[in-house]
Amino acid sequence: MKNLLEVKNLKKYFDKFKAVDDVSFEIQKGETLGLVGESGCGKTTTGRTVIKLYEPDGGKIIFDGNDLTNLTPREMLPLRKKIQMIFQDPYASLNPRMTVGDIVKEPLIIHKFPKDERDDRVNKLLKLVGLNSEQAGRYPHEFSGGQRQRIGIARALAVEPELIICDEPISALDVSIQAQIVNMLEDLQKDLGLTYLFIAHDLSMVRHISTRVAVMYLGKIVEIASSEELYSRPLHPYTVSLLSSIPIPDPDKSDLRNPVALAGEIPSALNPPSGCSFHTRCPRAKPECKNLDVKLQEKIKNHFCACPFA
């Protein structure tokens, strides 16, 4: 399989705040890479830097053989057609003063899609996401949260992208609507050959949708493996405790479980702990972890983990 996206040693600092610190991963064509971690771990910043909404401070972003790292916004424009984004908040990511038709049409105008074919394309896109063309004249406030997320997806699909960065696309939606959107994303992936970077904190949904999963902590990837492997055989102590904390919707199983308690909360990335940055909360920490230079290592085939003791 060929890599559609390669991210090498990516860094994004906001002043002293190391939001993304030396992150590397690749995404193969047609797969879904899940990116999980707690708030402030840098997963959203990673997604936004990959698409160059933020300028990277180091490392390389290679998309389909093109190095995006140092491209100017003008040079990026033709490539933006190939990488689109879906946002978390379907209330804030749609312009309330534009009709739904105009929202979906905007990327077609920006990327100079033939004028006389635009309306047709908008209607097709609305149908593709389960809305109907009569709704094109309405405004976002007339739609429910799930329907608005469909509009955001139609807009992302307008210019026939290859990679879609999905930044928490379902966390603002009700449980019964989440499944509708996830199924739709899976169908679209199959039908259109899409590749996803799926950023989320809902670990059970990420397991469901992802081919491979990367776990982030304080700006770094601490573990990456296939979804099946990661969930059945987590190696990094952070992943272990994260997975053991997922609430299970089954009373008997839930009673049998004993979450691996972590002391405290994520330290600030302004002043991250020395050595392995997880050592302050790690249930298995040893004195030497304070001074360790941790790197992702392949522990089992295709299963990488940053803890030398795992």
């Binding site: 449980v175 899976e186 609430p247 089954d250």
Partner: protein, 305 residues
């Protein structure tokens, strides 16, 4: 219970009856707009100037809450914690002042500072003597929610209403907070109403569960009854729409359609438009409540044989 808005009357809760027993955790699960928060605001007398309880009664410890002075009960016998620990604390007052405020208001007998320190220690904010002087911005999200719990429990309430107490928190912190709430509840014989949209949280924490939809109770029962002898099509749909941990890759089964418009509520069952088993009668008439056991009830015209 209705809210009067510029768009018209929103019937947030319609004909809801339930009870909370001493020392139990009652879980209420429902989606946005299901009426779960509106029900709780009514109990606390916090429905606001545009909210009105049109009918019904709320009985607390054998007395009609209307005949009681709610201000004397709120914060003392019944207290509440909210979803967002960032906005529930006053940023310009110290944590200690805010903890002691409710003791002062409800005339605590004894040393109020010592009581505030004791509660902070109980929720794991240490060293309490030092931290009591700090302000909310000096605490993380999880710590703020711990402080909210300390504040809510400082007068030894009989009933604690927790409205999505862990929704804004990360999973590892969520696990800590749920455990803390359970431990404190067991140690005090307090009753808890836990409102959440997360089926996993409710499966782990609640003794009994109410399932709400469109302002009405669809089903209620013990947590084993709700999860293992599910009766209502909505509850069934909800349980099927989340990934199954044993078959994580299996295609999800969503509930099709959209939640009802409460400005213009359906005449019969609120779930009728999305229900795979809907019949003619469901459109016109609200279903009666059927009893399956002493604790298990559901509202549906469709009867399982």
């Amino acid at each position: 219970m209705s809210f009067y808005t510029s768009a018209g009357e929103v019937q947030a809760v319609g004909g809801v009856s339930f009870d909370v027993k001493k020392g139990e955790i009652l879980g209420i699960v429902g989606e946005s707009g299901s009426g779960k928060s509106a029900t709780m605001l009514s109990i606390m007398g916090l429905q606001g100037s545009n909210g009105k309880i049109k009918s019904g009664e709320i009985i607390f410890e054998d007395q009609d809450i209307k005949t009681l002075d709610i201000k004397k009960i709120r914060g003392k016998k019944i207290s509440m914690i909210f979803q967002d620990p960032m906005t529930s604390l006053n940023p310009v007052l110290s944590i200690g002042y805010q903890l002691q405020e409710s003791l002062r208001k409800h005339k605590w007998h004894g040393d109020i500072k010592a009581r505030a320190i004791e509660m902070l220690e109980k929720v794991g904010i240490v060293p309490a003597e030092k931290r009591i002087k700090q302000y909310s911005h000096e605490f993380s999200g999880g710590q703020r929610q711990r402080i909210m719990i300390a504040m809510a429990m400082i007068n030894n309430p009989d009933l604690l209403i927790a409205d999505e107490p862990t929704t804004a928190l990360d999973v590892t912190v969520q696990a800590q907070i749920l455990k803390l709430m359970k431990d404190l509840q067991r140690g005090s014989n307090m009753s808890v109403i836990l409102i959440t949209h997360d089926l996993g949280v409710i499966a782990g924490a609640a003794d009994r569960i109410l399932v709400m939809y469109g302002g009405k109770i669809m089903e209620q029962g013990t947590r084993r009854e709700i999860f293992y002898s599910t009766a209502h099509p909505y509850t069934k749909g909800l349980l099927k729409s989340v990934p199954n941990p044993d078959e994580p890759k299996k295609r999800l089964i969503p509930i099709e359609g959209q939640p009802p418009d409460l400005l213009n509520p359906p005449k019969g069952c609120p779930y009728v438009a999305r229900c795979p088993q809907a019949m003619k009668v469901c459109l016109e008439h609200a279903p009666e409540v059927s009893k399956l056991s002493e604790s298990h009830f559901y509202s549906c015209w469709k009867k399982d044989e």
